[in-house]
Symmetry: C2
Amino acid sequence: MGITIKDVAKLAKVSTMTVSRVVNNTGTIAVETRKRVLDAIDTLHYKPNTIARTLVAQKSRIISLIVPDIANPFFSELIKHAEAEAKRFGYNLFIGDAGWDITNEREFIDSSIGRMSDGVILVTPRLPDEELQALSAAIPLVVVDRSMAQTKVMDVYVDNYDGAFEATEFLIEAGHERIGYIRGWEDVLNTKRREQGYADALKKHGIPYRPELIQVGDYREQSGYNAFRYFIELSERPTAVFASNDMMAYGFISACIQNGVRIPYDISVMGFDDITLFFEHVPRLSTVSHPRIPMIRKAVDMLLGLPADEISKFDAELHTELVIRDSVSRLD
Amino acid sequence: MGITIKDVAKLAKVSTMTVSRVVNNTGTIAVETRKRVLDAIDTLHYKPNTIARTLVAQKSRIISLIVPDIANPFFSELIKHAEAEAKRFGYNLFIGDAGWDITNEREFIDSSIGRMSDGVILVTPRLPDEELQALSAAIPLVVVDRSMAQTKVMDVYVDNYDGAFEATEFLIEAGHERIGYIRGWEDVLNTKRREQGYADALKKHGIPYRPELIQVGDYREQSGYNAFRYFIELSERPTAVFASNDMMAYGFISACIQNGVRIPYDISVMGFDDITLFFEHVPRLSTVSHPRIPMIRKAVDMLLGLPADEISKFDAELHTELVIRDSVSRLD
DNA sequence: CTGTTAGCGCGTTCAC
DNA sequence: GTGAACGCGCTAACAG
């Protein structure tokens, strides 16, 4: 059993209320009394019980952050920045790894409610709109990187359409026509938007959309790796492959290297996200950069109720941007 | 304000105690009453308040896990497995990223105490023995990947000496004599053990220990990258470099690739940890594999009070192992 | 089978 | 400046 406020009160020969006041710096206390209390706190190594405080205050100073996959650098980086932003306001993070699984998402939200989280940030959840809408009645919810426009749920959304369009157009302008595409989870909105961007860019340049050039992936490395086998066995191989996220692009590249297919000489690769690796990968991946840092900051700020005009400052930054490096060659 | 047990009791026309019994499946309840309560719970969407439960039970079913760097794959993988193991027992994880910083470690432990965590797992903390010892009086503590033999603190320790010795010896037997070494944080025990292994292997084979071949790093990629610059400008360059963790090895490799230094033809590289990348890196790194999965599992099990004989089953697995891949060449 | 009482550790309210 | 009483949401112990 831990030291409680009562123990301190007893030792300092005051009421618990006085101790509480000292700890929280509220009310007025005689200098001498304060010193006695402080001494008692010190000798007893008293630490206030946050659980009890939470129960009284109906506020935990915790926000939950649910990501689809903690081992994915895109998300672990997000966590770092979310933690930093939350800390600025004296908040702790309760982190959950949903593993791209709906049931886990649900359980984690329930758990957050039970633990009196002050809010939940969901990064690209797979839970349907209606359920998120319903849940948001029970606890403040911010959905990140997915539009909740049809609902009243708060969101921080970066439309990925333009990024995918520009990336595809870039490949086309480099002379590519047979452009393979690796898709992500179908039930994620941005997956659809990215694919639309890809398709529309083809259409704009009069290039037919060929279903056989589309591979279904799951945003994980392995599916990029697998896509390689498929594309390489096509009678007419693509000259370029656009992976709808960097993880799959890297998986694809690994397969290429292992099979002696050189990038960008034998095939070009374009990614999406611009994740920060912990070391430089060669060839350096051309990709679409995603404004994830301002995005997650904004999500935290929304939850902590920063004034709207302060939050909207970030808006200017929220767009994707083409990043040209070494993984795409010109077909001239 | 959320729905409480009182609301349910009122609606079901029973006492809160009865609701509590239904929720927890304790005591005996008339079938009919149970149904009324269940209905009320359903229509009200009642969720028990874990905070209040925690206060009563003096038990939160949460364990804290503090890692030095959440974005390092070694640790994010650890988190995944810790979470899985904890879940088996119905526990949630409270994850903290200390950023290799002592103050953060301290704050996070304090916060864990305040939040009534049932225990704390510290992965390679930098806090001194005495302080950890003291802290362990306030909350169950398990230190992972660091020996606490001098204290009464629980630990799950894998001595890294042998692994470093074998790795160095492997390089020597491949014909290398000028072997560079990149060290990690000096105040971490395993750092010392790894360096001892390196030094002893040299000694065994009559190769002088040269201080100019030692570079100080911090376990992060960047310091491996920086070490490259140092080694490459040496009048007598090393023919092989042993990085004391994979992150620094990868940093070093990146620098090599960017500077046209080929691995393993121009220089050999050996790592430590055998982290699982989310894609295949080329060249594939030769390294020392670290039994981190059984290690973290064991830590969780110790905290959750699994019987000693169950836990010790894991012991057999707890040793490092040489993993030979493509980053080391023979000098023949 | 069900309800009442008391208390987990703390802070708010209102006295003194 | 300080303290006593009450309640946050829940459950253990004891009635009935």
